[in-house]
């Protein structure tokens, strides 16, 4: 029973990270129709910026968010202007391949600079809180908290600011948004920049708990895709739900299949993905473009 509760808590905590990680991916998809296969590499970049600040300047990883998010915002803006803008509104194959190429470039650039050795950041917020038989890992608790705060801020931004409203408008109807005078390419650039910043933040969140290395990206992209398939495009509560579902599945498999369970995380996310897409083409909670009617 305690093992069960422990797995439940760990799963929810992992889910919080996944939720933040997936939002950037699903909002870009929802607003621009671009499936960003370089997503995992953007997480990786965020993690590496955190690691550099932590290693070179002794920054607390959580404090690194102040640098990570603006840097990634600017990077995202530039990427969109230079590259992504050329593939928006073109067939999916084009954007898939271009972002895949981008991913390869990013991971190999990082590898050239920092080698392929796995790295980890050190945080002062470590240790455990005990409540009865159950332990709460301090770092992961803070990660979950940070994740919830980031999602709340994103929600407020999308709901109440002018830019946020135009992003939502563009997500719902590109043509209509254009007609009412929204500068669609500006909206795209801002959206991509914000999502990149979010994704960078996710990279920071993963850095204290997991080894970071240049080629950590593709499994994360795949998980982001699986969660989006479950949660629908650009939905914050959906992302949280989907993230927690995947987190729980992974942690439970790791807990109850000793030895090889940790390696099966990616397998489980893939199985979830295919099962969801085949049985519920609109996504588990709806909102996904039906898989049978994609251009």
């Amino acid at each position: 029973m305690d093992q069960f509760l422990q797995a439940l808590i760990n799963g929810v905590m992992l889910g919080g990270f996944y939720a933040v990680m997936v939002l950037g991916f699903s909002v870009i998809w929802g607003v621009m129709g671009v499936i960003n296969l370089a997503h995992g590499e953007l997480v990786m970049l965020g993690a590496y910026i955190t690691w550099v600040l932590n290693k070179q300047f002794g920054w607390e990883p959580f404090a690194a968010l102040v640098v990570v998010m603006p840097v990634m915002f600017v990077l995202g803006y530039i990427l969109q202007r230079v590259l992504i803008n050329r593939v928006v509104e073109r067939p999916h194959l084009i954007s898939l391949l271009v972002t895949f190429g981008l991913g390869i470039m990013l991971s190999n650039s990082v590898k050239l600079i920092y080698t392929a050795d796995p790295r980890q950041t050190k945080t002062a917020l470590s240790g455990f809180w005990r409540v009865g038989q159950i332990t709460f890992p301090v770092t992961k608790t803070y990660i979950l908290l940070a994740a919830l705060i980031i999602m709340l801020l994103l929600y407020l931004f999308l709901q109440y600011t002018r830019t946020g409203k135009s992003i939502r408008a563009a997500a719902q109807n590109r043509e209509a948004a254009r007609i009412v005078g929204i500068e669609i390419h500006q909206v795209y650039a801002i959206t991509f920049a914000i999502c990149t910043a979010l994704t960078g933040a996710a990279g920071m969140l993963i850095s204290p708990t997991q080894a970071i290395f240049p080629f950590m990206g593709p499994p994360l992209t795949l998980k982001a895709f699986a969660i989006t398939a479950m949660s629908g495009l650009g939905s914050i509560p959906g992302a949280l739900m989907g993230g927690i579902v995947l987190g729980l599945v992974e942690v439970f498999i790791a807990t109850y299949i000793p030895g090889i369970g940790t390696n099966l995380g990616i397998v489980s996310s893939f199985v979830l993905l295919v099962v969801v897409l085949v049985t519920r083409p609109q996504g588990l909670f709806g909102g996904l473009q039906p898989a049978t009617e994609v251009r």
Partner: protein, 339 residues
């Protein structure tokens, strides 16, 4: 571009060119037998050609689902991997000889393709692509954890057999067979059906074509052939482990080569694979650590600037110029109809 087209029209690959090319390729390893001590043709050159033939075969297979049928498969290397592991396990654990092991390896790939394809081929566009990428990554982990069978992360060793000229000939013949097969498929109703599915799947289904059956058939044929290549690769490499067999960018390389040559054309994957392989082998072999970086950039450039590929740029789209050559080759009158 216009000048290029003119040159192409004038000096278009003719049957003599093709004939000489094939004779040349078959004759290339001969100095090895006649005068091995003079080292006219090195083993490493033969090895390079072997790799290129394998890439040509794999890209042609990929093109069958990705180019003709329009189902862009981001996990095609999973079939290569299954073939490699099937062959490896049969030879290492059961002591089978190579040939039956390779064929069974290919069959394992084909069976897996039917199973996975009947789920994933219902998905369209990006959903199909990503779920195949998922299949690929998941299969790597499954291979990693199935330690008793696959040796896990430590990999498997195959009985070494380092006869470069032999592998050269096997892969050359396999490449010729596969390209001919695909050229022939393109001429049949089956090939036209695949293109019809790419152009308008709902329309094809409504006009009486069993699209699922056609898609799965194309899928398993490609998987079988890629499985054979996987088995060959495993045997000539003598060692397989999950990371080297299920190498991350292997599929994307195939996509890139096919796109460079021309998606959905018979000659496209051949030209694309040859160009990219030699570019990599010759031009940037000396900057090895940058090669993936350059490859990523190249992929972006190809996709953005020559999405139609070389064949497309030369004005030769899905009506196959290679097909025309071969038809002349066999002295057939160009047949109207499904060709």
């Amino acid at each position: 571009m216009k000048g290029l087209k003119q040159i192409w029209r004038q000096y278009r690959l003719n049957r003599w060119f093709l004939f000489l090319l094939l004779v040349g390729l078959f004759a290339l390893p001969l100095p090895q037998f006649v005068a091995p001590e003079r080292k006219l043709v090195t083993n490493s050159l033969l090895f390079s050609f072997t790799q290129m033939f394998m890439l040509i075969t794999l890209a042609s297979n990929w093109n069958l689902t990705g180019g003709f049928t329009g189902y862009v498969d981001f996990g095609h290397a999973v079939f290569f991997g299954l073939g490699a592991y099937g062959t490896g396990i049969l030879m290492n654990k059961l002591g089978w000889p190579f040939w039956p092991a390779m064929v069974v390896g290919g069959m394992i790939s084909a069976v897996f393709a039917v199973l996975i394809g009947s789920a994933t081929l219902r998905l369209k566009g990006p959903y199909f692509s990503i779920s195949m990428l998922g299949t690929f990554v998941a299969m790597r982990e499954i291979v990693r954890v199935s330690k008793p069978l696959t040796g896990g992360g430590e990999g498997l060793t195959l009985p070494p057999y380092l006869n470069r000229p032999l592998f050269y000939y096997i892969t050359l013949i396999l490449a010729i067979l596969v390209v001919t097969l695909i050229w022939w498929i393109r001429r049949t109703e089956f090939g036209a059906t695949l293109i019809a599915i790419r152009e308008d799947e709902i329309g094809a289904e409504m006009r009486g074509i069993n699209t699922t059956l056609n898609k799965i058939t194309a899928f398993w044929i490609a998987a079988f052939l890629s499985g054979l290549v996987g088995g060959l690769w495993a045997y000539q490499n003598t060692f397989i482990d999950p990371d080297v067999v299920f190498f991350e960018s292997r599929t994307v390389e195939l996509v890139m080569m096919t796109m460079l040559g021309g998606l959905g054309t018979v000659a496209g994957p051949v030209i694309g694979a040859a160009v990219i392989y030699w570019l990599r082998d010759v031009v940037w072999a000396s900057f090895f650590q940058y090669h993936l970086l350059v490859e990523g950039a190249l992929l972006i450039i190809i996709v953005l600037f020559v999405p139609e590929g070389i064949m497309g740029a030369l004005g030769d789209d899905s009506s196959t110029s290679l097909g025309r050559i071969m038809r002349r080759w066999f002295r057939e009158s160009p047949k109207e109809g499904v060709a």
